[in-house]
C-alpha cells in the first residue's frame, strides 16, 4: 500500500470524490433544513444506517474477491427470528440474551461458510448460490415462526438496539467498531492481502500459494457473521423477530459498497469507501425526509445519486 510518486492529483486517496459528494450533501441539507444539522439528527442517521452498513462492511470483502452475496437480507431475517426465539428461553433474561447473541453470530457465520463452500467445492457462481440461499433463508424464517412475528422479548434484549453508551446509540458504536476492525483486517493483515490478491487474479493467487478456497469460504463466513450481528441489532431495535425483515436489503448493501468505489470485478476497493457510501445514501434519505420530499420522488433521487456517484468514479479512473 505504498504511496505513488506520480503527480500530486494522483496522491489523493480514491475516496476523495465520494467524500466530496457526502460533504456537498451535508452542506446542502444544512442550508435547506433547520432540522438537519443537529447532533441528535446526525446520531439518528448513523443509527439508521448501522444495520445495512455493518453488512456492507462484510459485503466489501465478498465483492473484493469478485463475488456477491444476495442472501444477506434473508439471512438477516432468519437470524433475527431465531435469536428472538432464543431470547425467550426460560433463562435469566441477561443469560438468554447473551446466549441468543452468541448463537446468532455462529449461525450467521456458519450459513456464510456454507455458501462459500458451495461456491468453492462445486464451482457454482456466487450469484446463483446466494440467489438460491436467499429464498432458502427467507423460507426458513417463515417456517420457524409460522409466518408471524416473534413478540414478548425480555427487556434486556432490547438494550443492544435501543440503548446508548456515553450518549451514542449502541448500534452506531458497533458499526464504527466493525469498520475499524474491517479496515485493520483488510489493510494490515496477510488475510486482507490474500483477499485483494484473489479478487485481482485468482489464478495468479493460486500459483503464488494463496489458499484461495479457504480465503473465499472465510469472506462469506465473515459476511454472514456481520449480517447476523445486524440481524440481532434489528430484532433488538424492533423488539421482535420479523420474518419479513430485510426485504431488498441486499440492494441497499451492494449500493453502499459500489458507491464507495469498490469494483464489482473484485481486487479494488476499500472499507472506508463503503462507510462513506453508506453515509451518503443514509444522509440523502434522511435529508429528503426532513425536507418533506414526496416519497415517490425520493426513490428517483436516490437512484440518480447512486448512478452519479458511480459515473463520477468511473470518469475519475479514466483520467
Amino acid at each position: 500500500m505504498g504511496g505513488s510518486t506520480h503527480g500530486t492529483s494522483r496522491r489523493l486517496p480514491p475516496e476523495t470524490g465520494i467524500a466530496a459528494g457526502l460533504l456537498a450533501e451535508l452542506v446542502a441539507f444544512s442550508l435547506l433544513s433547520p432540522h438537519f444539522l443537529t447532533g441528535e439528527n446526525i446520531l439518528n442517521v448513523t443509527l439508521q444506517i448501522s444495520i445495512t452498513a455493518i453488512i456492507a462492511a462484510g459485503m466489501t470483502f465478498v465483492i473484493l474477491t469478485g463475488g456477491i452475496d444476495l442472501s444477506v437480507g434473508s439471512l438477516l431475517a432468519f437470524v433475527g427470528v431465531t435469536v428472538a426465539g432464543m431470547a425467550k428461553l426460560p433463562l435469566p433474561p441477561a443469560a438468554a440474551t447473551a446466549l441468543a447473541l452468541a448463537a446468532g453470530l455462529v449461525l450467521g457465520a456458519l450459513s456464510g461458510a456454507f455458501a462459500g463452500t458451495l461456491i468453492t467445492r462445486f464451482r457454482i457462481t456466487p450469484f446463483i448460490v446466494t440467489l438460491a440461499l436467499m429464498t432458502v433463508w427467507r423460507g426458513l424464517a417463515f417456517i420457524v415462526t409460522g409466518g408471524r412475528p416473534v413478540w414478548d422479548l425480555p427487556e434486556a434484549f432490547s438494550v443492544m438496539g435501543n440503548g446508548r453508551f456515553a450518549g451514542v446509540p449502541i448500534p452506531t458504536l458497533l458499526m464504527v467498531a466493525t469498520f475499524a476492525l474491517s479496515w485493520v483486517v483488510l489493510e494490515r493483515t496477510r488475510f486482507g492481502r490474500h483477499v485483494l490478491a484473489v479478487g485481482g487474479n485468482a489464478a495468479a493467487a493460486r500459483l503464488a500459494g494463496i489458499p484461495t478456497g479457504r480465503v473465499l469460504v472465510s469472506v462469506y463466513a465473515l459476511c454472514g457473521g456481520l449480517t447476523a450481528l445486524s440481524g440481532v441489532l434489528l430484532a433488538s431495535r424492533l423488539n421482535s423477530g420479523q420474518p419479513n425483515a430485510g426485504l431488498m436489503y441486499e440492494l441497499d448493501v451492494i449500493a453502499a459498497v459500489v458507491v464507495g468505489g469498490t469494483s464489482l470485478n473484485g481486487g479494488r476497493g476499500s472499507v472506508t469507501g463503503t462507510f462513506i457510501g453508506a453515509m451518503l445514501i443514509g444522509v440523502l434519505r434522511n435529508g429528503l425526509n426532513l425536507l418533506n420530499v414526496d416519497s415517490y420522488v425520493q426513490q428517483v433521487v436516490v437512484g440518480v445519486v447512486i448512478l452519479a456517484a458511480v459515473m463520477a468514479d468511473r470518469l475519475r479512473r479514466r483520467d
Partner: protein
Amino acid sequence: MRHTAALPALVLLAALAAGSCSRPSERAQGTTIGVSLLTRGHMFYRDLEEGLRSAAEERKYTLIISAAEFDLGKQTAQIEDFVARKVDAIILSPVDSRGVGPAIRKANAAGIPVFTADIAAQEGDVVSHVASDNRGGGRLAAETIARFLDGRGTVAIINQPAITSVLDRVEGFREGLAEYPGITVIADVNGQGVRDKAMAAAADVLQAHPDLGGVFGINDDSALGALDAARQFGRGRLVIVGYDANPSAVDAIRRGTQLRADVVQFPKVIGSKTIEVIALHFAGSAPPAVVPVEVAVVDSVSLSRQRTD
C-alpha cells in the same frame, strides 16, 4: 478530477431543487404532522392519504407523508426522523402492531402525541385510534356469503396474517359464520394481500377443493386474485366476497362476475376523522381512545339502486 468530484453534488442539488418544488415549503411556520403509512401502493391508502390531505389543508396543517411499504425497519426510521425533526404530532398505520412499540415509545419520550389510522398499535402510548369497524365488517361479509350460499357449503379465506385490522376482519368473519352451522371454513391461506400472490394461493385452494362454495378475500386484491383463479379453473358458481370496494372490484360486481359483493370501507373518512381528532387534541380536549368508522356492503342490487337514485 475536481470537476468529476463535483458531479454528484451538482446532481444532488438539482434533484433537491426539483424535489422541494413538488411540495409546499416546510418553512411555512405552524403545525407539522408526520405520517407513516403502511404503503402508498394500495387504493385504500391513497384514499386515506387524500382524506388526510384535504382535512389538513382546511386547517392549514403541514403533512409530511411517508410510507413504510411493509418494512417495519423503514417505518421505525421514519418515526425517528419525525422525532428528530420535532413534529407536532405523528400519524401511523403500523406495519406490525406490536413491533412498532419501541418507535412509538421514542415519540412518547420526546413528548410527541401519536395517533393511529386504520391499523392499531398494541404497544406504546397512542392518543387515539381511528379505523373501520373491521370486526363488524367481517361479520357483514359472513352474513353476505351465507346469504348467497343459502346457508350451506364450504368457504376459504384468502388471508394476510399479522395485521390487526385483517385479524379483526377474519375473526369477525368466523364469528359471523358460527351462526350458520351448514357452512364450514375448509381453507385459510396467505395471499399476502396482493393480487398475484392471492391468485396463486386461491388457485391452490380451488385445485384441492373441487366443490368449494365461497371465498372471502380480506381485501380487494385478494378477492380479485381469487376471481382470476376462478376464471382459470372455470368455476362459474363460486361466490366471492371482497373487502374495500375499490373501483375495479365494484366494476367486477356490476359486470356479474363471481365477485358478488364487497364490504365497503370509507378510507377518506378515516383520513379526515384522524385530522379532526388531532385538532381536538390540540384544542386541549381528550378525544376518545377508539374512533370507529362505519362500514357497509355493496352488491349488484345496491349498486343498481345507487344508479337509479
